[in-house]
Subunit: 296 residues, 2 copies
């Protein structure tokens, strides 16, 4: 047992999976859920995700050791604001949102001095499913969780959050806030933006029927992420606006260069770019493979 | 048995797989291979891909019923040129290249009047593997083959090529040349260009190590096609230049619009675009599912 009371704000896939894992693995003596919809919290009890729930936020977070904010990205800022009023100063506050800079800036705005008990984090795990029904105690096993402690963060608070995630089977790394947001803009936010834009662009072509009718496995893989939740990705691109725009601009420059090389039959430059990309992709494959082997 | 003599020019994945399927399924009385490298052709015999081989093109295509050009895309044009000299006028000439317009224009240039026995085609199948070792008699089963007959094409020649592919288990459709090249630019060439550009762009970021080290399943799927053969895709984007550039421009316009909407916090437009994309992606999923169910 790592802590006494865990409070999960928002019992969807991310919050529900942490709650369920902590219960099943005995990491917390008590797991309390809070949310806006009582029916959903009742479901969370029925599915073994939480021990009990509260509809009143102050009641829910009373004597909490750890409060996990698992609401949608843009709602998380307002949760920080509400917690500043009702949470004990000794409760550790952490979260699972995909962007960290907006929450850190929100904390600066709300608290003035960011509390030492705030340990922002981001589990790199998800599923095409969502909702409490999809909550899965194994979701984080062998997945990476990035914590983004700052100069203000107490190492004790960070250690507790780290142990909780490790207890759920995750591999935990630390990174500074800005670096996290740039890295995630690159590996996740930009690819989603490209996939959405590609599919939206193709759907507007005059031959869109034939396009989708003749697409095959490569297209399916490439566009899978365009099936993701629009509201979630709307929140993410706005919350991480600066990094997303910067990555979009770098990408657009690269694409423009390739366009010029194709238009002018500059075969050598086209080859060089495709070869560099293949090398980098192979390097990434080998990293993934090593990571998976380490886990076996 | 559909034909007497099939000649495959280039015994790699695409040509070797057709050859092997025709042998195993008894679609041709004899399958002859032609290529530049004797060792490779010998391997093709050892692997049961062809019955025999010739190193001299004229000898290879003598009395052929069907000649299948399975060389790299840009080499296919010069094969047409050589066949114009050595092939019987009754031999049906078909191919498996990813772009059809450049070959059709090459045929116009070479023959003046495009022969009625030319039936350009494109099997939408492939593999991350390549070479005669990867030749697989089942490669085309349940895969689509697009034929692009023109006004000059004889319906008899088209029927023979169609039956050969159907005999290999493929689903054959017809489409005009220009439509084919636009559709493939959309579903295949543009996604490859985007995947290569993305990975090349990220590899140049200062935090490229962290980027690849923290990427997960979504990124793996999205960039899988960036591991494709650079030479092959170099050929394809140049052979299909007009359609590829036009699709790149439409995509870039779409991306630019999204960039403006993110920069100006225009959440409604961001949501609308992501929602349209998700709808179209779901529509595509349902097409794929129906196609797969039909095959079961």
């Amino acid at each position: 047992m790592i802590i006494n009371k865990l409070v999960v704000l928002g019992a969807g896939l991310i919050g529900g999976s942490l709650a369920k894992a902590c219960r099943q693995r005995g990491l917390a003596a008590e797991v309390v859920g809070w949310g806006r919809k009582e029916a959903n919290l009742q479901k969370a009890i029925d599915f073994g995700v939480i021990d009990r729930y509260e509809l009143d936020l102050a009641e829910a977070v009373k004597d909490a050791d750890v409060i996990f904010i698992a609401t949608p990205t843009l709602v998380a800022e307002s949760m920080l604001e509400r917690l500043a009023v009702v949470a004990d100063s000794r409760s550790i506050i952490t979260d699972g949102a995909s962007v960290k800079g907006n929450l850190y800036r929100a904390a600066q705005r709300i608290y003035g001095q960011v509390p030492s008990t705030l340990v922002l984090g981001h589990p790199i795990a998800g599923s095409e499913e969502s909702g409490v029904e999809a909550a899965n105690a194994e979701l984080y096993v062998n997945h990476r969780v990035i914590l983004t402690p700052t100069a203000e963060t107490s190492s004790e608070a960070e250690a507790v959050v780290r142990e909780l995630w490790q207890g759920c089977g995750a591999e935990v790394v630390s990174m500074d806030v800005e670096r996290h947001d740039r890295v995630l803009a690159a590996t996740s936010h930009l690819p989603h933006v490209l996939a959405y834009s590609l599919v939206d662009s193709l759907a507007q072509q005059d031959c869109s029927y034939e396009i989708f009718d003749n697409a095959a496995g490569g297209f399916r893989d490439f566009t899978r992420i365009a099936a993701s939740d629009p509201q979630m990705w709307h929140d993410i691109v706005l919350a991480n606006k600066a990094a997303v725009l910067s990555m979009m601009d770098d990408f657009t420059d690269q694409l423009k260069l390739l366009r010029e090389n194709i238009a002018s039959d500059n075969g050598d430059e086209i080859m060089a770019s495709f070869q560099r990309a293949r090398e980098a992709r192979r390097h990434f494959s080998s990293i993934l493979q090593k990571r998976q082997q380490k886990k076996l």
